[in-house]
Symmetry: D2
Subunit: 361 residues, 4 copies
């Protein structure tokens, strides 16, 4: 469904950029999971604007209110409704959009689809929509870690043409990722990325990049064969994030250049169970987790909203020079890290319950 993600662990998201608030209803989180408001707030804080001078000037404290489903720090097995009020709305910034759609933004397609738009900015097609995802993802993360010992760590592995290769074996922690506001755990690369982002911002321009994500502790057997493969669900989850244009798991695009004899992950017996000597499969074989770390990469295009003027056409067909005015990030990647983690957690939580629902004893 349009604004619902997942079946057994299902999230329904709501809210637009300049309305009363944004949030999500999490349905299907089992009862008796310990859950404090801080568990949710911590991820929202990693996502919120204004964390550093690398991000948008919009000021939102993004405090979450739990409306239902949790009592005395424990889930009740019923819907968990989460609300974050909007505060710093500036509808006036967006007047021009009524006549000319911003290049590579969703103005044109929303107009084609709905014939109407929220009066201010992207409405629903805004990075602000991801608040609901992160709040819901934080709930999923508590469920995953408490029931299965599964957690998720993502980081920025490239910004524009600066890229790093880091271990994808699950050895990196969020603390390491957060040592630098760019959220690249390689500090010298992070510093260079930051410089590039500041430069782009000063130029009124924007940058893209790649986020790498590792899911640790996923047991063998999650993911449904055929259409609901773990890899397919992750791909959909990632491509549903604003600005994402690509997804690869394990060896990905580069792996297409290898021969099968080199690419195949042979099995070895280790620590009392079968493991693979390499992990080009990215933790997924035949769409089902094999017990190795689930590793994938997500490509973000450069932010469509830029400050410098752009030649384009208005709806009437007249050439116009569009000046960006809405506040925006010159590079969304640092703030997108918890969004990627959240969507991964939502996929895993849903498939964990599907695996349980498969009724295999």
């Amino acid at each position: 469904m349009r604004n619902t993600f997942g079946t057994l662990f299902a999230v329904t998201s709501f809210g637009e950029s300049h309305g009363a608030g944004v949030g999500a209803v999490v349905d299907g989180c089992p009862a008796q999971v310990r859950m404090a408001v801080e568990d949710i707030q911590i991820q929202l804080d990693r996502r919120r604007p204004g964390q550093s001078d690398l991000s948008t000037a919009r000021s939102e404290n993004d405090k979450v209110e739990i409306l239902s489903g949790i009592e005395k720090g424990v889930t009740l097995g019923i819907p968990i409704a989460l609300l974050v009020r909007n505060h710093d709305m500036k509808p006036g910034d967006y007047k021009m959009l009524q006549t000319a759609p911003r290049p590579s933004h969703a103005d044109f397609t929303y107009h084609a689809k709905y014939g109407i738009a929220a009066s201010s900015g992207g409405g629903r097609a805004s990075a602000r929509e991801t608040v609901g995802r992160v709040a819901a993802g934080a709930v999923a993360e508590q469920f995953l870690i408490q029931r299965y010992g599964v957690d998720v760590v993502a980081w920025v592995s490239s910004v524009s043409d600066i890229s790093v290769t880091l271990p994808e074996d699950g050895s990196l922690s969020r603390a390491q990722v957060d040592r630098h506001p760019v959220r690249c755990p390689d500090l010298s690369a992070a510093a260079e990325m930051a410089k590039l982002i500041v430069k782009a911002r000063d130029d009124g321009d924007s940058l893209g990049g790649i986020i790498t994500c590792v899911c640790r502790g996923v047991p063998a057997g999650w993911g449904e064969p055929v259409f609901d493969k773990l890899s397919a669900r992750l791909a959909a989850a990632m491509l549903s994030i604003p600005a994402v244009k690509g997804f690869e798991i394990g060896s990905g695009f580069a792996g297409t250049r290898l021969r099968g004899s080199t690419h195949n992950d042979r099995f070895v017996h280790q620590g009392g169970r079968l493991r693979t000597a390499t992990n080009r499969s990215g933790g997924v074989q035949g769409g089902i987790s094999n017990g190795e770390p689930v590793v994938f990469r997500v490509a973000f295009k450069p932010t469509a909203t830029i400050s410098r003027p752009q030649a384009t056409s208005d709806y009437e067909g007249n050439e116009v020079l569009l000046e960006g005015r809405g506040r925006h990030d010159p590079c969304v990647l640092p703030r997108a890290v918890p969004v990627v983690e959240s969507m991964a957690a939502l996929v895993l939580a849903d498939l964990a319950l599907w695996a349980a629902g498969a009724g295999v004893s």
Copy 2:
């Protein structure tokens, strides 16, 4: 659901590699679409084994029987059940698999998930499962072309390290794609790819590659914002295909290196409507089609099944040398072209009905 894809235009797939047959039930195809058995057979013929010496030696004529839903060459609006009988089964080929899982295949994960397997080969985790997808996709294609003038063309754009750059503007036709059995429309590149495939086959090895796909004539407004973006649904569809490890739309991974000012697709007025001067968006903005060709690329790993012996471990933890015996393709890409097209058509048909169901007048 596990073996159902789509909501309004929904396909349920069934059948395993060495059972009685494979097929699909297509539910939701509107009434009064002209549909001949040949419309379906033509795509099955492009997918079936034994088309050329580049593919597996398994011999299946893959003749489809329409069990329901079509009468006098017209759809009735009710489920269309399609059945292809299996003929050339060789269960004996797969005995070893009972004790040792094949590297990078689904044996291990199916065993973890179900504790049981079809006695022969991959069962459901076999390229043969894609018969149902292609049969169903052919139905979707008739619906799309007759109602909306939409069609889909895919081709092999790389095999291992041989790659071609071809126009992604919708100018290539299936006839051009099919001029060479490799299904790369650049004939000299195709010849080189074929050589490489033959070499891999002779080495008992396998190759991967990339398929590019263009959907032509998609009107603006298809795709649901947030979780059911057109791009997200395509990503899931592609990652659900056996052996796929990556997906990118429009500028994809390469686009992450551009700045926003260069990457953005500015609007121009052309032919009485707004179009974009470039198509780095790949026909999708904010998750919704913008009227430009929808362009994406799909990465296939080298086939996991190879003939040369592989050192690995059996379920008991003993090192063994596994010899491949089941028949297989040294490179699945030529036969995967109609599979990619079919999955794209299924996504588009479903989202076309969602757009209609959105009730916008």
Copy 3:
């Protein structure tokens, strides 16, 4: 899904009786439907407690806040989040329930399912949960009347053994229904019903009854054959309402005593179209609407919560005398009228979009 109803016009409900609030997210309401907060409030006012001395003493003004999806009195095509804060919570009333489950209430089964419960009263298994249904149903009603001229009117047709037979042809209006707080449009019957309810209340007891509902203006062609018949979806909708134990459409149970030759609704040509001379089908043939009024009846058991002491057993197996203390309605039917209407509207709105999504030109 558990707390989501509908597919294309989908409602996700949240909130428990004694938490922060209750509400719903409506996803899929098309853009450009006029919608004022008063359109929603009016139905909530018909549902809220304390309208008359026939209902519970709990005092809630049930003012709804629109959190998203509506701007300047018009829907945007995106999720409409609706929130009603709880005010008059009395958790203390429910202490005893921790040790002994109330007869015919959901305490025992929730305990079996979740092993935990909201500390106060029914939590989610409370009449208060229907606030979200009614708020969402009011949105559906605006969509139905504006796009299709469809509306829904329900009334109390029996309380205990007092029952009335009223025209089911669509001639009754909500204004007529609301002339008496019992919501039975036959005023003398209503007066008798009121007397019976007061008597039951004074006895610390409760009553059941039947609500009849007519959907007017439903065009022919709504409802999906086989599993999503209009009648099946209505049945599920009604049985999902707390305290409902039965559903019948058209001739229902009484019709089983007729012969086919008497029961069949013959067609007649009237007003330029085919109609049926009688309406024993209740507006549905083969699961699909036939253009006649859709007529059904819903059986509500007597409220499980009563004030008089009940002999029962606690979880330990000890016989106990349970005294009801939570505030409750001696007869839920008057307040259930808008709940029935709302659920019917939600079914119709979803099937209207399915019909549009069927793509029949």
Copy 4:
């Protein structure tokens, strides 16, 4: 979805009355359930036409073929496709229907919805569609009995105005039900019912009636609160069966006349667990099973197809005298017994997996 029922244990049905065949794909039946073709055939035999002179003259042996998902008598956890070929088609019987819709049949509404129909008889809106339900239901029954010890027994409790009251405590078996072809376990009532049916048949007329169903051994905790209550799912399942006009669970419509103090099922400690002294709840409280037998009743209208001429109107608006010619049952109830059982089993199997998927340890 239109022709899919259930989410985790999902059935997709296909086939029309006079096409190549009818069948179903069962997706989600867990692996390692023992399943022989005879387990499925036995229920099809109870449903098939021509069992006695009380049913239609159409001759179908209804032999089922298992196309996939079962090997060596055991399920593999993958889709189970089941096919029953049609043999005795008589398209000629239905010519008149092209110009005049049969009263109270689905001809008119299918025409309104699809603008086209299967050339012969009801097509999909035929009792023959229930073959797929019964085949799939038989699979669900094996899963339920082997994993949970749950089974389902239904019987004819009334035909027209002859009705019987039989114990609803789970003491009746299918063997007792099958002692008389009417499938009423009270043999003297059954004999009277049979006489009435023969009389109706000889008059070219038809009869309705009620089927009672008891599900035994359902553990406490199945059913989802709010929209997917066990009672709501059963109601939808039953109303989806052709000719059904009513559903009630436990005390049902009659229970609306009791006071709460009489109606409530008090708890008693018995056999080491809490049970209820009475079962007016019908085994469901707050939408969730409470461990008592699940008891419900289903109202079938008299068959719409009758042999005697009926005055009606054709599509052009001309009065015509319609003569029934297609073969039909004068009373569908005896053959509907396994259909009711099958739909109940499908609901229970799905909710059993939901309960498992709820992840409560």
